[in-house]
């Protein structure tokens, strides 16, 4: 265990705990409007201040963590599933399957992802589920390529031949023998992917096509702060800081894991 990994795990652990325990630790209801305390700066009663509707910013950021982390993790989960299956089939079987899968990945990579997501969300409705699925569906290509290249080199190793020689099936060889050896670099990549997905969601929310108010996400708290930026710096600073620290945490974990396992990815 190196320091980077520990710090990363501490940050993400802390944020995840806050997200899971949100109803117990947040001082107020996240959408409780208190017209007596609009745009209050940080104080004892409201540690991070209040927004233009008098809602407690700390509570909104804690509840926002649920949405933002959830979207990051589930979106990457979806892209992991697609990427691992596509990459291992392409790498193991090669030939026509490989060509079809990798060419579709290349086609997907040609689209400017962000605008693809924007357009799709604009046509469909921007619900949390849709956003997760769309981010997942547009970010599997990197993982597929990574898995494919790992499997291409692993399948020439002797223990794969040994597994064939004791009569293991294709499925058994992929799942039992190839994937466990290929997953290390993929985890590193997926951790970075979570950070990317959270940023993407914030950007979408900032453009009004992400998570819809009143449900708080870090991105849409930021956009609501835009109107009052001149008088209330805290509404912009704290959600931005939350995004920043989370991305940093995931990047630390990715870098730490990479060092811990000794990859040069």
């Amino acid at each position: 265990m190196n320091k980077l990994l520990l710090v990363g795990i501490a940050i993400i652990g802390f944020l995840s705990a806050a997200a899971i325990l949100a109803p117990f630790i947040s001082p107020y209801e996240p959408s409780l409007i208190d017209s007596a305390s609009l745009l209050m700066p940080p104080s004892y009663a409201h540690p991070l201040g209040t927004d233009g509707l008098g809602r407690d910013l700390l509570s909104r950021i804690i509840y926002g963590a649920r949405i933002s982390l959830g979207i990051g993790i589930i979106a990457v989960g979806i892209s992991l599933c697609i990427g691992v299956i596509a990459g291992s089939v392409a790498g193991y079987f090669g030939g026509l399957a490989d060509s079809i899968i990798m060419r579709s990945a290349d086609i997907m990579l040609c689209f400017p992802t962000f605008f693809l997501i924007l357009a799709t969300v604009a046509v469909l409705e921007p619900s949390i589920i849709n956003i997760m699925v769309i981010i997942g569906l547009t970010s599997w290509m990197g993982i597929a390529r990574l898995i494919r290249s790992e499997i291409l080199s692993l399948r020439e190793r002797e223990f794969i031949q040994a597994a064939k020689a004791i009569g293991a099936s294709h499925y058994g060889i992929i799942c039992r023998h190839l994937l466990p050896n290929a997953l290390g670099p993929v985890f590193v990549n997926a951790t970075l992917g979570i950070a990317g997905a959270i940023l993407l969601e914030s950007a979408l929310s900032f453009l009004g096509l992400g998570v819809q108010p009143p449900v708080p996400s870090w991105g849409n708290i930021l956009i609501e702060s835009k109107a009052t930026l001149g008088v209330a710096w805290w509404i912009t600073l704290f959600p931005g800081l939350a995004i920043f620290v989370t991305i940093l945490g995931f990047n630390f974990i990715a870098e730490g894991l990479r060092k811990h396992w000794g990859y040069n990815a």
């Binding site: 090669g94 190793r157 002797e158 223990f159 040994a162 064939k164 020689a165 004791i166 009569g167 293991a168």
Partner: protein, 261 residues
């Protein structure tokens, strides 16, 4: 029980055709030890891998037949072939360390054979594995079960490899230079172990080596390969008393020279 006749295997290396086997014919009888000897590149390993169609993708069997207990293995469906691999024909490979998957404990990998072919419940498979580890003379089998391949020595890994291949009591064991990577003392132990297991399990052994001194110790019959062909096949005694082909003479000479030094 195993009959290979007129086997031709070509490798297609980016358009250049390399003829690895040009008409190999050999047979292994029940409970017999056949040693296939020959220099590097003579096609010993290709022959062994071709038996259960484990050849790399670039290789192609252009003609020939491989019969095992009456079944033509070259025409068998993939599913049926998988039941032959491991269960009826098992392999021991050259590099004991790299033939074990580095992410699993060695015991788990031996258990895989039981789970694949015999569908034993895990508890029974575990007990069987421990018994098997004791059969290949691993003393503290419980500790070794939970070791990873990199924690064991080459000799130990090869014992694990043997245990793995014997799990389903195969009728034919193909050993591809199983002792080449080991030192001489360990080599002797492994060879003795193989001979002992052969008589208790009653399998036929197809043993590949370039070392005729090993052949002399274990072989019933010897088959000498040279440039993709079987150039001489005879009882072990006869090969050493009156070698016919010049390559056989070379091989015998090679080990005698080392022996006298």
């Amino acid at each position: 029980m195993l009959k290979i006749s007129n086997l031709h295997v070509h490798f297609d290396l980016d358009g250049t055709i390399v003829k690895a086997l040009c008409g190999v014919t050999l047979g292994v009888n029940l409970k017999e030890t056949l040693v296939v000897a020959g220099e590097s590149g003579s096609g010993k390993t290709v022959t062994a891998l071709a038996v259960t169609r484990l050849l790399p993708a670039a290789a192609r069997v252009t003609s020939g037949e491989i019969y095992f207990n009456g079944k033509n293995l070259l025409l068998l469906e993939e599913d049926a072939l998988r039941k032959v691999r491991g269960k009826e024909i098992a392999y021991i490979f050259q590099e004991p360390g790299s033939f074990l998957n580095p992410v699993y404990m060695v015991g788990d990998q031996i258990m895989e054979s039981f789970l694949l072919h015999q569908g034993l419940p895990r508890v029974e498979a575990f007990a069987e594995t421990l018994r098997l580890l004791e059969l290949v003379k691993i003393k503290d089998s419980r500790r070794v079960f939970f070791n990873y391949p990199h924690q064991l020595s080459g000799g130990m890994n090869q014992r694990v490899g043997i245990a793995m291949s014997l799990a389903c009591r195969p009728k034919l064991l193909i050993a591809d230079e199983p002792t080449t990577a080991l030192d001489v003392t360990t080599e002797t132990q492994i060879l003795d172990l193989l001979c002992e297991l052969k008589s208790s399990f009653g399998f036929s052994l197809l043993f590949i080596t370039h070392n005729l001194s090993i052949a002399r110790r274990i072989a019933d019959r010897i088959c000498v390969m040279y440039k993709g062909q079987v150039v001489e096949e005879a009882d072990a005694e006869r090969i050493f008393c009156s070698p016919q082909h010049f390559h056989t003479k070379e091989l015998i000479h090679a080990y005698q020279t080392i022996g006298t030094q």
